[in-house]
């Protein structure tokens, strides 16, 4: 009996061992079978999948924390062909909601390329349109008979971020824009493109949950805080738009800067575009220089450059404020006769009168007394003909012809002294003149105030340019310019605030000759004189009501200066001085 049990046990044990061995043999056989490679390949195919990560592009704020550029959610609408039930319903719904062609959609859905299981019908679909389709899909699913699927089964929605500009066209010339591929064009978006980054990244991601730690981390872009004041920018744009209409100018700019730090507070241009519709770029602009003429468009500045000529003359000791000369109304230089703006003689004038009446003959006189070397050395030191280094894309360097250049003639020494025959950008003029307002030291204009990354804000350190003139020269000229405006009774004056500045009127060359009816009018001014907190540059192109800067740009300056002192909380001089005394 016991032997019987023993044999049965042995038989059972043997059977189990054979079964186990069979499993091992089968496993080994499968591992080495011809199909094993196929299975291994299949497992590898499913082990990883391509996924696109859409990290947020860094936001852009103004100096008071107002969002100027952010992100919004848009959708990619597609069809999963493996679960699609009704191509007609999908085509009809998509055609209706997205404004697409029904027949084209049917063609694409019913005849997909070989091996394709998912088709993108439309991308960059607005949230409202996508929500409409999602609601429709949901409603059809609910109405479908029990056990069957809704007609829009297979219609899929994938959300991803897209750049959005809540202020639409406000400060468009400063911000620039981002195209659908995530590349920045113009302004801050192009200049700081790599910093703002946040570009989509397509990478292989493991589907094995045990390898979750291998999911790549696509960091969001750096957030930028600009020195721009949104409310001041809006006011500048409003005033500029009004001025274009009032003076019949073709184009214009208003730029406002803190002359002590170089922070740009507002840069208004007449041509602006809704950045949310960047594809209209070609409709708004004829060429790239028109996007932000403050930094890109060069022009002959006219009499505003007399500030620099006078600064050079004072600093080099060529003249003092009390130096006098006899103005005969014209002067000969390089074989060419130069006349005053009114072609009249102004008699004996000192240097304040020279600035006050904006006398060309005076400027030619002192530039020739300085000599070409001294004059051009100072112009070079002021940065004329060089990039200012402003942190906006597409800055132009301008052009200053100097002795030795093939196209320089002796008459240029005279014409350059009053702003003709030299090409500058408005930002270049502001940087150069900042030396006068800022005790002789130039600033580097900039729009970036701070950067925010990982919850920390990093201030941009102050940067200063060269010191082309002494502090004494700067202070003297500051006073001379303030007096000249006051004695002239300029329309640029702002009640309650002492302002220094200069008008400019430059004829525009047409077909190689200067046209006296076509002018660029401008005014550059700053205040309060004893503690300058703003510098404003106004440029109107081809005003039709008057060709003179004193009658067009100067009153615009006064208007924007009045808004500036209110928005920047700058009290009138009398109150400010009382506060200082206390």
């Amino acid at each position: 009996m016991r032997q019987q049990y023993g044999r049965r046990s042995q038989a059972l044990a043997g059977a189990l061992v054979i079964f186990a061995l069979a499993i091992v043999i089968q496993m080994t056989r499968i591992q080495n079978s011809p199909e094993a490679d196929t299975f291994r390949q299949l497992s590898q195919d499913y082990a990883y999948e391509w996924r696109t990560f859409y990290p947020n592009r860094g936001e852009i704020y103004d100096r008071n924390g107002r969002l100027l550029a952010g992100e919004k959610i848009i959708y990619e609408v597609g069809v999963d062909l493996t679960i699609m039930t009704d191509p007609h319903a999908i085509s009809y719904a998509a055609a209706d909601a997205l404004g697409m062609d029904y027949n084209q959609l049917m063609e694409v859905i019913q005849n997909p390329p070989e091996g394709i299981s998912y088709i993108v019908l439309a991308d960059y679909v607005d949230a409202a349109q996508a929500n409409y389709l999602q609601e429709l899909k949901k409603a059809l699913n609910e109405q479908a008979p029990e056990g069957s699927l809704g007609g829009l089964t297979g219609l899929q929605f994938k959300s991803h971020p897209q750049r959005s500009y809540p202020e639409n066209s406000l400060a468009s010339n400063i911000l620039g824009f981002v195209n659908r591929e995530g590349k920045g064009y113009f302004g801050v978006e192009e200049k700081y493109d790599s910093l703002l980054a946040g570009n989509p990244v397509t990478v292989l991601v493991p589907t094995d949950p045990n390898k979750a730690f291998e999911i790549p981390n696509a960091p969001n872009g750096t957030t930028l805080v600009l020195s721009i004041n949104r409310d001041l920018q809006a006011a500048a744009e409003d005033i500029l738009d009004s001025a274009l209409g009032e003076y019949g100018a073709r184009d214009g700019i208003i730029a406002i800067m803190d002359p002590q730090s170089g922070e740009m507070l507002a840069i208004a241009t007449s041509r602006r575009m809704d950045l949310n519709e960047f594809w209209n770029y070609d409709v708004v602009y004829d060429n790239a220089t028109e996007f932000n003429p403050v930094i890109s468009k060069t022009y002959e500045p006219g009499s505003v450059i007399k500030i620099l000529t006078m600064a050079a003359a004072l600093d080099s000791g060529t003249v003092t404020p009390n130096t006098t000369y006899l103005d005969t109304g014209s002067i000969l230089i390089g074989g060419v006769t130069i006349q005053n703006w009114d072609r009249n003689p102004w008699g004996v004038q000192n240097m304040v009168g020279c600035l006050q009446h904006s006398l060309n003959v005076c400027m030619v006189t002192i530039s020739t007394q300085m000599g070409a070397n001294t004059f051009y050395n100072y112009m070079d030191a002021f940065g004329i003909g060089h990039l200012t280094g402003v942190d906006l894309a597409w800055e132009a360097p301008g052009r200053l012809k100097v002795p030795g250049d093939p196209d320089w003639y002796p008459v240029d020494l005279g014409t350059n002294a009053f702003g003709q025959g030299v090409a500058v950008t408005p930002i270049q003029m502001m940087a150069a003149v900042s030396a006068v307002a800022n005790h002789g030291r130039m600033v580097i204009p900039h729009v970036l105030y701070a950067m925010v990354r990982d919850g920390r804000q990093y201030q941009v350190p102050e940067q200063f340019g060269t010191t082309p003139i002494s502090e004494q020269t700067a202070n003297t000229l500051n006073e001379m310019l303030a007096i000249s405006l006051e004695e002239e009774g300029s329309q640029a004056l702002v009640p309650g605030y002492r302002i220094a500045g200069k008008t400019g009127t430059a004829q525009i060359p047409v077909d190689g000759y200067y046209d006296s009816t076509q002018t660029n009018t401008s005014f550059i001014g700053w205040g309060p004189v004893d503690d300058p907190q703003f510098m404003i540059y106004v440029w109107l192109e081809r005003p039709t009501t008057s060709p003179w800067g004193s009658e067009t740009a100067a009153p615009v300056f006064a208007e924007i200066a009045q808004r500036t002192v209110i928005l920047l909380d700058i009290p009138p001089d009398s109150i400010r001085q009382q506060l200082v005394q206390k």
Binding site: R2, Y5, G6, S9, F53, Y54, N56, E59, Y61, R63, N64, G65, R66, L67, G70, E71, K72, I73, A127, S159, H160, P161, S164, P166, E167, N168, L170, D208, P209, N210, K211, A212, F213, I215, N220, T223, V225, S227, R230, D231, Q233, A234, Y449, A450, V452, G455, R456, Q457, P495, G496, Q562, R563, V565, I566, D569, P571, P572, I575, L579, K582
Partner: protein, 185 residues
């Protein structure tokens, strides 16, 4: 009777001694000891007993293997679930960030310069004129500076703030316990 006693108790010399003691107490007549040893030896080498020992050992190995396999399966499945949760939460974080940015942009659109001016005008406001302004001296007033977007209140999850249970090994835990126990002695 001797066989029954030996079968009912654990096997060995101590058991035999115990049986003999019981026998003395119960006044059982003496038995020849060489015969007893022979029986014990026969019992030890019985084939069914050897088989049972083999089966027992084999079952023990199978049970240990099954326990290890079950433990491994349990840990692996929990790890897989945790990994899947990590994947889902990563996606959820990204989606939440996008929604947050979208809402922030919508809010900025509602408070844009253009819409705020329009609403202010509709409510009867107008831009202030310079002559209407009155400046007051406020002791201790500090003029508003540019915005600071630092999120200083934001708590950063780092190695120091993660509870030790999530990054401490068993040996680390035992070591910590030993150290703390010594400290309180």
């Amino acid at each position: 009777m001797l066989t029954a006693l030996a079968c009912g108790a654990s096997v060995g010399r101590k058991s035999i001694a115990l049986a003999m003691t019981k026998r003395k107490i119960m006044n059982i007549p003496n038995v020849n000891l060489p015969n007893v040893n022979h029986l014990i030896h026969a019992y030890r080498v019985a084939p069914w007993r050897v088989q049972r020992q083999w089966i027992g050992n084999a079952l023990l190995v199978v049970v240990i293997f099954a326990m290890v396999a079950a433990l491994y399966l349990n840990v692996t499945s929990r790890t897989a679930i945790a990994g899947r949760e990590v994947q889902d939460l990563t996606d959820a974080i990204a989606a939440s960030q996008q929604v947050s940015s979208d809402l922030q942009t919508q809010l900025a659109g509602l408070t844009s310069a253009e819409s705020m001016e329009k609403r202010a005008r509709e409510m009867g406001f107008r831009p202030v004129e310079p002559a209407e302004l009155e400046y007051l001296v406020v002791p201790g007033y500090v003029a508003r500076d540019a915005v600071d977007l630092s999120s200083s209140a934001q708590t950063q999850l780092n190695a120091l703030t993660i509870p030790p249970a999530y990054n401490q090994s068993l040996l680390d835990w035992m070591d910590e316990r030993l150290v703390s126990a010594r400290r309180f002695q």
